[in-house]
């Protein structure tokens, strides 16, 4: 037992991680519908934040337009479902290459022509805005009047068609979040992960060490876009309605990135912790305000802003790194 405790942070992390996972797995048995919805939202942002983190946290490429990949995932899967009756998992197989291809186009334009830093971020916003305006006028997907997925009463949960009760959606997004976590961990500890970190840290030095930085930045954008697209598929089938003004909106992109920023950019637990802190606290605030009969539109946004401000001032590396050090669970590589 002592030997195992001494075996270093890797195995010391395994125990709390197992407890955390168990808590998530059994949570639906103990929470009410409202809390379950909040948990779904938390996991959704943990998943999308993890996907964004591949690009920014690992490879150092700031995307402020990740709503583009969410929106593409949503629209591709929803369109295939409503027009052709093709289920979301097959839709995902179509959405992934489309999102990755869009990421590749943006990446190619930026990296080939030396668009970097804030200019790259602006380019990602621009493409998300193109998509928003484009879809707003695309009659095939009902343009601005929105695309609706048929909602019927199902006798039982249909995992294949993602039709069912919130508990099913909860387990789907939980599995996806676990998958994203494991994927990111594997990537970070592989050759590609080292090259990404090198590019993030110092691109000219990475090139001098023989890394084809163009290629590896392209990989980062494409992987991040592909992983993000599932968040869109999930979103479409969970909410059953899509409006270009909503899914492609820049505020959606911002929502995705706040979690990892608050939690800790470039860390594996940061996106999860950040989603918890932000969504959890924002919902608590909603509940408290509701209890007091207050109706203040925008209070959530103000709260987000204040949270971000506090973290930036007090914990510039995010919440997770100092917390991990305190718990003796440092991830080592970051």
């Amino acid at each position: 037992m002592i030997a195992r405790l001494r075996a270093g942070p890797a195995s010391r992390r395994a125990i709390p991680l197992a407890i955390l996972l168990a808590a998530f797995v059994f949570a639906p048995f103990f929470v009410n519908d409202y809390l379950l919805t909040v948990l779904i939202l938390i996991l959704y942002f943990a998943y999308a934040g993890q996907a964004w983190n591949i690009m920014m946290g690992f490879a150092g490429q700031l995307s402020l337009g990740h709503a583009l990949y969410v929106g593409l995932g949503s629209y591709v899967a929803a369109t295939l479902f409503t027009h052709f009756g093709i289920g979301p998992w097959l839709g995902l197989l179509v959405a992934i290459p489309i999102a990755a291809a869009c990421g590749a186009v943006i990446g190619y334009l930026a990296f080939r022509f030396g668009v970097a830093g804030v200019y790259f971020a602006i380019l990602t916003i621009a493409f998300a805005e193109f998509a928003r305006i484009g879809f707003d006028h695309l009659d095939y997907v009902n343009a601005s009047s929105g695309l609706f997925l048929p909602v019927k009463q199902y006798a039982h949960n249909d995992l294949w068609l993602l039709r069912g009760d919130p508990t099913m959606f909860y387990y789907v997004i939980l599995a996806a979040t676990v998958f994203a976590f494991v994927l990111c961990r594997q990537l970070l500890h592989s050759r590609i992960g080292y090259f990404w970190l090198a590019i993030r840290e110092d691109e000219p030095a990475a090139r001098a060490a023989g890394i084809n930085t163009f290629r590896y930045k392209m990989y980062a954008v494409m992987v991040s876009a592909a992983v993000t697209s599932f968040a869109g598929v999930f979103y479409a089938f969970f909410y059953n309605n899509l409006f270009p003004e909503q899914v492609f909106s820049i505020s959606r992109s911002i929502e995705i990135i706040l979690g990892p920023i608050i939690g800790g950019i470039g860390t594996l637990f940061g996106p999860i912790l950040g989603a918890f802190v932000l969504t959890g606290l924002a919902e608590t605030l909603n509940a408290v305000m509701g209890a007091f009969g207050l109706d203040l539109p925008g209070a959530k946004q103000v709260f987000y802003g204040v949270c971000l401000l506090l973290v930036v001032l007090a914990l510039p590396d995010g919440v997770w790194p100092p917390l991990a050090r305190r718990l003796g669970l440092s991830e080592g590589k970051q």
């Binding site: 500890h189 592989s190 050759r191 080292y194 090259f195 970190l197 090198a198 840290e201 110092d202 000219p204 030095a205 990475a206 090139r207 001098a208 060490a209 023989g210 890394i211 084809n212 930085t213 470039g266 080592g332 590589k333 970051q334």
Partner: protein
């Protein structure tokens, strides 16, 4: 001895100012070749041209029998030329070991194998005990050695060192000289270095090229070059004689 790197009539101008003016030299396989000269002589520009970081206006560069002029820096590195930077550029938020592992992964698929190779190099460069520290916490001499380790990890035939001795104390300089000599002797590594610290140049180099205002004014064995009147005049100063 066969020629590993051959630079022929290479020039580079910055808006009319010729930083490098038709410089030619050849670095034999297995040599330690030094480029010296006053500040602004064009040494780092010449280095950046060889490493692919700056495009030359004219001339040819041949490495191991193939032209490398115009290749981007990562391709130059993959051909077998690794470099350090005059102003060190370690990956600050990565550990010392991870810094070198990045270099070692260039020719290795497995992270474990790359890490093992990185540890070997860290032992050689006296950084093994500091391998878990973040690169940003190292002192300047340690960072300089880290840059050398990372460059070596890419498995180069030719190592370009841009003033790795600058800012080192004499004992640290001697240690670096010893490390480089051992590497050169044991692995046959060819080294091309830019250096101001004459103590290191005299101890290391088998051949020296002197640049002044972008022009090669002397080349030869270190003992003869330091007695060359033109070199004394432009660079070393009368008191050096």
């Amino acid at each position: 001895m066969s020629v590993l790197l051959s630079v022929e009539a290479v020039s580079k101008g910055f808006r009319g100012l010729l930083a490098v003016d038709r410089v030619s030299f050849a670095v034999p396989q297995g040599a330690i070749f030094a480029i010296i000269g006053p500040n602004g002589a064009g040494k780092t520009t010449l280095f950046n041209i060889i490493a692919g970081a700056t495009a030359a206006n004219g001339g040819t560069i041949t490495f191991a029998g193939a032209p490398i002029g115009g290749l981007p820096p990562d391709a130059v590195c993959r051909r077998g030329i690794a470099r350090t930077f005059q102003i060190v550029r370690p990956f600050p938020a990565l550990s010392v070991e991870d810094n070198v592992t990045v270099g070692a992964l260039l020719n290795r698929r497995e992270v474990g194998a790359a890490r093992a190779h990185a540890q070997d190099l860290l032992r050689r460069l006296d950084l093994f005990d500091k391998r878990h520290r973040l690169a940003s916490t190292l002192t300047l001499p340690d960072r300089k050695r880290l840059e050398v380790a990372r460059a070596l990890a890419t498995g180069p035939q030719l190592l370009l060192l841009d003033e790795v001795m600058a800012g080192l104390r004499p004992t640290e300089t001697d240690r670096m000289v010893a490390i480089l000599r051992t590497l050169n002797r044991e692995t046959g590594l060819t080294i091309l270095l830019i250096e101001h610290v004459m103590r290191a140049v005299m101890a290391l180099a088998s051949r020296v090229l002197v640049l002044d205002h972008g022009v090669a004014i002397a080349e030869g064995a270190p003992e003869s070059v330091v007695r060359d009147p033109a070199v004394v005049q432009s660079y070393l100063g009368a008191e050096a004689v």
